[in-house]
Symmetry: C2
Subunit: 84 residues, 2 copies
Amino acid sequence: MYKVKVYVTLRESVLDPQGSAVVHSLHSMNYKEVQEVRIGKYMELTIEKTSRDIDETVKELCEKLLANTVIEDYRYEVEEVVAQ
Amino acid sequence: MYKVKVYVTLRESVLDPQGSAVVHSLHSMNYKEVQEVRIGKYMELTIEKTSRDIDETVKELCEKLLANTVIEDYRYEVEEVVAQ
């Protein structure tokens, strides 16, 4: 079994209105030292072991469903879990 | 200047309907090996150095705005960036 952590972030060139709203809120709460916030998604997947390469599977999942690669980048970490 | 990465996840005991919907979609796309998906938030903050301890500041930001600690857990990583 694998535990896969996927991080999806907006590309550098894409505006992040949600992040700007958070910066705005933080400023109004007097945290003026916060300059920028970028908001992304974090996903933890539990995937059974199959005959397919796990990297290949995860890349497909990201490209097809989890990330919109036109505006988002993704990276992931795979950890193998030994069943108890 | 600091680059802070914040990960906000739903507590283990809290249902994640968004994650279940993703599992459902993946199954219908024939990725039957995916057993569970938990969806969280990932935030990158750029924070100026002040006289306050950065850990103290980040904890406050998380507790007050970024995470709902009733149903969510958070963790973070701080990286100091030397201005060029």
